[in-house]
Amino acid sequence: MRAFATLLRRDLAILLPGGSRGSAFLPLIFFLLVAVLFPFAVGPEPSLLARTGGGVLWVAALLASILPLDRLVAADREAGVFDQLRLRGVSEEVAMTARLLAHWLSFGPLILIATLPAAALLSLTGDTFWRLFVSLLAGTPGLAAIGLITSALLASLRGGTALAGLMLAPVAVPLVIFGAGHLARDDISGALFAAAFSLVLCAIAPFAAAAAIRAARD
């Protein structure tokens, strides 16, 4: 448990905004850019924007979550961090659980906060905004989990980021369907399905990512 706290502290120091890997604001900026550019592309008609805006922001959140994947696992693998942890009796699963939590904290809350200005830019109604907020809250942990798995799988490849997008997107489709589906329905079922999918992914991710790291070790 103490080891977990130590790992989480380090991961947060590296990944959070102001942290040393310094890409924490990229997803936020990307997300807001989409909200700014979309009205230019489809025209400023409020009813059209309000109808399509929520779904666009969901896709933007998904794509934004790909941005930090580049160095999420690869840097530590190259530096031999996982080997040193292993020799200290810290399993890859524990390290990946801490990484998952830190990874979500590094982009999830920022995107949730940014939903407010983004919703204003796309003239979403108050109701749609809350639905978007809740469904993103339910779905972003799942995005973080898929991101961690792909990042661990691609850690031994050079320039795996582009591939990460290709690998992440298909797995994330159910999250988008349920998450964005929640925007159009009156009940909470869409968000609940997204949350369930997120939970399953978060439960699998540390083990899958750990297995990927071990498999890449020669």
């Binding site: 103490r2 080891a3 130590t6 502290r9 380090r10 120091a13 590296i14 040393s20 890997r21 310094g22 530590d76 190259e78 530096a79 031999g80 961090v81 080997d83 040193q84 942890l85 292993r86 020799l87 200290r88 810290v90 070790r217 020669d218």
Partner: protein
């Protein structure tokens, strides 16, 4: 429990190539072993197998005692300061006093500098300091003398000597002759 490292009949396969086979070694508490051999013969692979980070293609390893590994990769966050990067490992190692090992290696003055700005030798010294954070009986060192200046080389030899004197054991890979009472293992004798 006495520190001990025993390898029986191990073989190492890398990719499709068998690097060495039928290799046996035993290192007991207080002993040191220098592994030598031409590039690509599998010295680093041997250390990884001994550390338990890679599985041997054949054979068995028995170890009693915790392992301290120093390989070519420093495992220090290059964009954090050296003090912060080492503090992370010190917390994992349960080491309360990092100042002493850091001072011994002469890196206490570098604590505020981002690790990425340090030279190879300085990073190497930081890794050696990390070895001292916790008493681990089995030291596996891959090219520990490479990149160090003469004074640091002498210091490292002293530390290895102290370590073995205190009941530890050490296996290290080095090309250069080292002023230590170490047995040598010529890896090319076991080449496949």
């Amino acid at each position: 429990m006495q520190a001990r490292l025993l390898a029986t009949d191990i073989a190492c396969l890398r990719g499709e190539r068998l690097l060495f086979r039928k290799l046996g070694l035993e290192v007991r508490a207080g002993e040191m072993l220098q592994v030598r051999g031409p590039n690509g013969i599998g010295k680093s692979s041997l250390l990884r197998i001994l550390a338990g980070l890679a599985r041997p293609f054949a054979g068995t390893i028995e170890r009693s005692g915790e392992i301290g590994l120093m390989d070519g990769r420093h495992a220090l966050d290059s964009d954090r300061t050296l003090g912060d990067a080492l503090a992370f490992w010190a917390r994992l190692d349960g080491c309360a006093d990092t100042a002493r090992p850091m001072a011994r290696l002469g890196i206490d003055t570098l604590a505020d500098i981002p690790t990425g700005y340090l030279s190879t030798g300085q990073k190497q010294r930081a890794v050696i300091a990390r070895l001292l954070f916790r008493a681990r009986p089995i030291w596996l060192l891959d090219e520990p003398f490479a990149g160090l200046d003469t004074a640091s080389q002498t210091l490292l030899a002293e530390l290895v000597d102290e370590h073995c004197g205190a009941g530890g054991l050490c296996v290290f890979v080095s090309h250069q002759p080292v002023d230590l009472p170490a047995r040598t293992l010529e890896l090319s004798d076991y080449a496949a």
